[in-house]
Symmetry: C2
Subunit: 192 residues, 2 copies
Amino acid sequence: MPATSTNSGTSQKILDVAERLMQVRGYNGFSYADIADALRVTKASLHYHFPSKSDLGRRLMERYTENFAAALTEIDASGADPRQKLERYIALYASVLADNRMCLCGMLAAEYATLPKPIRSEVLRFFDANETWLAQVLEQGRQAKGFRFAGPAVEAARALVAGLEGAMMMSRSYGDADRFDRTGQRLLAELT
Amino acid sequence: MPATSTNSGTSQKILDVAERLMQVRGYNGFSYADIADALRVTKASLHYHFPSKSDLGRRLMERYTENFAAALTEIDASGADPRQKLERYIALYASVLADNRMCLCGMLAAEYATLPKPIRSEVLRFFDANETWLAQVLEQGRQAKGFRFAGPAVEAARALVAGLEGAMMMSRSYGDADRFDRTGQRLLAELT
DNA sequence: GTCTATAGGTGGATAGAC
DNA sequence: GTCTATCCACCTATAGAC
């Protein structure tokens, strides 16, 4: 663990702060100055670790997708049944919302037209990974006679992600996390 | 129609351009300079009609909600049955998306944490109006035995709006309007 | 109503000392 | 790796002439 590595603790701390700012305020809603204030360093110091804001955003997205994928792998490894898996998936969203954050990719999807290209493709990769994982869980559940839904599992997966992302945005605006929970429960109930 | 009225043609043109910019790029993603370029006037001229960006955003939201409410009233007046009403409601979203825009309020809901207070309350008013109208249509449909859904109609309405807003965001990111249409059809099918 | 000119601030980003 | 100092483009907004 060389001290000069860009993956040092400082870079991670920068990413932590930037992640929160981006989930709460959006890519166009925060600046290097915000991060610098929070960490009590100068803006120039941040540019050493992440030369441009575009770099920072892309690296952030990569880490986010990685962490999310790891969480999904852990759910798979837990031996839960499809219904429990979905419950835990929805709980992931709820935990983000509890911190007054949006899903990073939901936020960036809204700002999509203004994003640097490298960030855009990372956003789509995140959604793709979610759909793939969800479609698999849904198909398992359907074959085990636990879930009932029409059409290809991937279509049901897309509707589910859309519902969760939308519910998240609206619940946060109302400052009422309960809204999200009720919609999440409803989406789950519709599958059974 | 006094020529000095702030409701003159110029103000409307400014709102038209600003509306598109805000739906495509978000409140934090456009500036007075963008509007000035599009209309070939100076920024100072814009400030005459809308003193601050906050004013502009609020007035924009008010007009948007008004227009949307008028569209819903027109649907009501058409004598369509509940299912047709919902189809037309979903078609409203689709027409916005076809222009590569987000729902203005979906966009602002994502940026909510950074919005001036007067704009925030307008966003919630928009969602409230949608929920109220939808809940009424859903309840009509349920009593006519055309729709089947569990729980209070307003909860089903919220899930519907969330699904449509989320689908809109994701479809636009993928540049694939068809995604939205399929999710819209699915949401409708789940009610019957 | 629209213009020129400008104020006062913040944005992302770089050079070079330490 | 972090700092000071600085650049320049852009931001919202205003004053005052026409």
